[in-house]
């Protein structure tokens, strides 16, 4: 799972029937220092996250699991809202760049 920040939202009238009722949010991936890394992506939301919030999100087929038994065709879902991040020492090496979802 990865850290991200909600930077916007998306409207789509024509969409897959299984996406009906899902919120689509724009998420900017972050590194543990909460700096932007990688490209903005579109994500579904299982938590009710709002604009500007720091969240964690997961990639891949697993991101459809929060919505089971509905088969929501998503490859990125917000699964938690972050209260705080600790344990990343200042100046410690940056982790690998966030891979694109």
């Amino acid at each position: 799972m990865f850290l991200g920040r909600v930077v916007g939202c998306l409207w789509a009238t024509v969409k897959d029937p299984n996406l009906e009722g899902q919120r689509l949010l724009l998420v900017q991936p972050l590194d543990p220092h909460l700096k932007d890394t990688g490209k903005t992506l579109v994500s579904t939301d299982a938590t009710g996250a709002g604009a500007g919030e720091i969240v964690y999100w997961c990639r891949g087929k697993e991101s459809s699991f929060p919505f089971l038994p509905k088969e929501v065709p998503t490859d990125a879902t917000i699964v938690g809202i972050v209260d705080s991040v600790t344990g990343v020492a200042r100046g410690s090496p940056r982790p690998g760049r966030g891979r694109r979802a």
Binding site: G8, T13, D16, L26, T40, S64
Partner: protein, 89 residues
């Protein structure tokens, strides 16, 4: 999922039988502001997207959950047509 714009179509006569009748489109990834990003993707269209429309594309095994793509050899599918992308900043 990524935002992308439809920039072309693909015609393939010889293909996996499970892909028959599916529309294949060429997508150019774009930023929420609408600027082009690197690379291209060929995606199956499950919503009826048209040329130059901005769409949402899902990749990986989740693409098989798009309508009509069950058990099809697909790793990228268009699942929505974007009306508006709004950035809060």
């Amino acid at each position: 999922m990524i935002l992308a714009r439809v920039v072309g179509t693909v015609v393939a006569t010889r293909k996996d039988p499970r892909l028959e009748g599916k529309k294949l489109l060429i997508l150019k990834p774009v930023s929420p502001q609408g600027n082009d990003e690197a690379g291209y993707v060929v995606a199956v269209d499950s919503v009826g997207a048209g040329y130059r429309e901005t769409v949402i594309a899902v990749s990986g095994s989740s693409a098989r959950m798009a309508e009509g793509c069950k058990d099809a050899p697909v790793d990228s599918a268009i699942i929505g047509i974007v009306d508006e992308a709004r950035l809060d900043e």
